[in-house]
Symmetry: C2
Subunit: 401 residues, 2 copies
């Protein structure tokens, strides 16, 4: 059977890469961890200790590098000199040996840089349940240390070293006054836990302490990565790190200016849902509370029926509204209205007359917007989801060995 592979979208590269944040160097090398032979060990290093904050998977089976990096953040007082990442192997479900291997990675980088090991953070992504081939990892780290560079290309090599099943590289940047914010991430939206690790790294040269980054991080994540589909279904390795090299004095509303970078990265992840052809933004307004709005939006976003309708450009209001009707958070269902790409397809609990062919055509876009309007209260939430097509089944039904 021949399954059409949706064309790989191409997006213009970000203006700035990680190495254009003053104070940062990076490398990305081929250590032989990926069968593809692509770069698989990445290293990001700062000239002086950076401030850093992190958010990590809530999964009970958090991988060894996650456990280590969380501990290192505490030990180092939320400072870091380096981040080492390998792809091709998640070092998850690998027991005591996995913990030792993650520690060895941090130690090797620390020795190369002459810094305390707790100032090195470690991330891994790839297959789970397989021990790291440490001989290759060691050689890769040594190579990466030798190749550290401030060139924009070094930032892009770092990015390519963190990718796994990603169909395209994901980067975003912004200038905030005199300061620079650059970010990269890997991960394909919607594919739930296994192999779907999301890694996101953002760096900037704002003069912010770890404590300040830590306070801002949950809000940044809620507006971006956690708005992508099933955020409760985290992989064993999910990690979001925010670094600052502490050079430029920030304004009081710095987080507001940094947020678009995180949001763009999250959109790119949703766009790369395996076999996805579009990103659908589901906005719930008028729910009793924002928490209720979020639960309703997620219920719709995670429905396989909704997502196949989005794939088929099917303006199937019945699937959208009956999913809202399933939510215990809805108080006045008869006031529900539903607007799809600007077209009102359901109003006050009943279907409206609308041009189905026009609605279907309007859905055949990169960006689809589905508004679900209630009259229960002031609650508001936005969730991004990707569509579910044949290619998703093909990618995920393939035998793993």
């Amino acid at each position: 059977m021949s399954i059409p592979v949706p064309p790989v979208p191409s997006f213009p590269p970000a203006e700035l890469t990680l190495t254009q944040v003053p104070g940062l160097k990076a490398a990305g090398v081929k250590a032989g961890l990926k069968a593809s032979g692509n770069p698989d060990v990445g290293l990001l290093v700062s000239d002086a200790p950076m401030a850093v904050a992190g958010l990590f998977t809530q999964n009970h089976f958090a991988a060894a590098p996650v456990v280590l990096s969380k501990a290192n953040l505490v030990r180092s007082g939320h400072t870091a000199r380096a981040l080492v990442v390998n792809s091709g192997n998640a070092n998850a479900c690998t027991g005591l040996q996995g913990e030792k291997d993650a520690e060895e990675m941090a130690h090797r980088v620390a020795k190369g840089l002459g810094c305390p090991p707790e100032q090195v953070l470690v991330c891994s992504t790839g297959v789970i349940g397989v021990k790291l081939p440490m001989d290759k990892v060691r050689a890769g780290i040594d190579d990466a240390l030798a190749q550290l560079s401030r060139e924009p290309e070094a930032g892009r090599r770092f990015l390519s070293a963190i990718m796994t099943t990603d169909a395209f590289p994901k980067e975003a940047s912004a200038r905030v006054g005199e300061a620079v914010v650059a970010g990269v991430c890997k991960g394909a939206g919607m594919i739930e836990p296994n192999m779907a690790t999301m890694l996101a790294f953002m760096a900037m040269d704002l003069d912010l302490r770890g404590e300040q980054l830590k306070r801002a991080l949950p809000g940044l994540a809620a507006a971006s990565f956690n708005a992508v589909h099933v955020d409760s279904h985290t992989s064993t390795n999910d990690t979001f790190l925010l670094f600052s090299t502490r050079k430029v004095r920030p304004s009081t509303d710095w987080a507001r200016h940094v947020e678009p970078v995180a949001r763009r990265l999250a959109w790119l992840i949703a766009r790369d849902g395996e076999g996805a052809t579009k990103v659908t933004t589901i906005e719930v307004t008028g729910a009793a509370t924002s928490e209720a709005a979020r639960r309703i939006a997620k219920l719709v976003a995670t429905s396989a029926l909704v997502r196949t309708a989005l794939y088929g450009n099917d303006p199937n209001w019945g699937r959208f509204t009956s999913q809202v009707g399933n939510s215990k958070d809805v108080r006045h269902p008869r006031s529900l209205s539903c607007v799809l790409q600007g077209l009102e397809v359901f109003k006050n609990g009943e279907p409206t007359a609308f041009d189905r062919a026009a609605a279907s055509k309007a859905m055949a876009q990169e960006d689809v917007r589905l508004e679900l309007k209630l009259k229960d209260g002031p609650g508001h939430a936005v969730v991004l989801t990707s569509d579910l097509g044949y290619r998703y089944v093909q990618v995920n039904a393939e035998y793993t060995t």
Copy 2:
């Protein structure tokens, strides 16, 4: 693109049909509600008032016939003379006219039988948001009244009149001492709310009052229909009715003997998940409580990643266990073991060495069993799920008009 349609499974017919329950007559006629021209109005009638209990959708947008039937159960003191069902149109999201149409259906049957209208229950299934073509419905009801019969074939015609997207008829029966239990249902598992209405009707000649049926029904449903995948995602029309014609004195444990009929009907619904190739029974043991076990089982059963792995006969323990790891109900994740078709693939929080090819082969069956064993407490739950393949996408991404 050509998507392979999985072969339609064929199961031996049940020994007994509804009309073989003493006291019952049935009919199934073609009223022109279905584009296919297949039977679409079914009528089940008892000689004398039956005892009856019902469970209905929790969806906020409950269809007009659901609202009416719930009210009639109360008005009639849980007795009924007849059940009228139409397929091809769900009479849901049809406003005030829909309510009037459902009432008219009950009245027309009541007039034909000479019974109070509250002793007639009404169910509808099919497209939502479209008003019933009442001229056709009226003619269909009149035809059905004229064709009522006690022949086994009449029971089978009733069954064919309630089917919609079902790939095969679903029926089950049992003898309980001197008594007879027969049941039919329609619905395809796993496809969540819209168009996925589940209707299940069971009848028996045990001498039980409505109050007794009402008390037993939640337990029966929990062991059967509510164990099929996403039970919280009910359609606007879901209905489960249990009738008794009150002839044979029941034993005290009658419900235990009736349960296998409900469980068989639920299995058939799971088997008919659109494009499904098998039914997977997910059993969680050792959870803190049975409620916790049920939530964990459902989290695994509803994962698109798990379901595509089942489709692909992929013994992908990482998908099963990391989904368990996502549950807030798990207390001691490191004690998780996972047994797939009798093969232990994960033990005490770590992967085991197992023969992947043999495991994959063992998964290529009608019935797959996935055991997830915790050591948190005595909680136990069983959930049925179907796999997710190409055909699911095809069926659900098609344009509705």
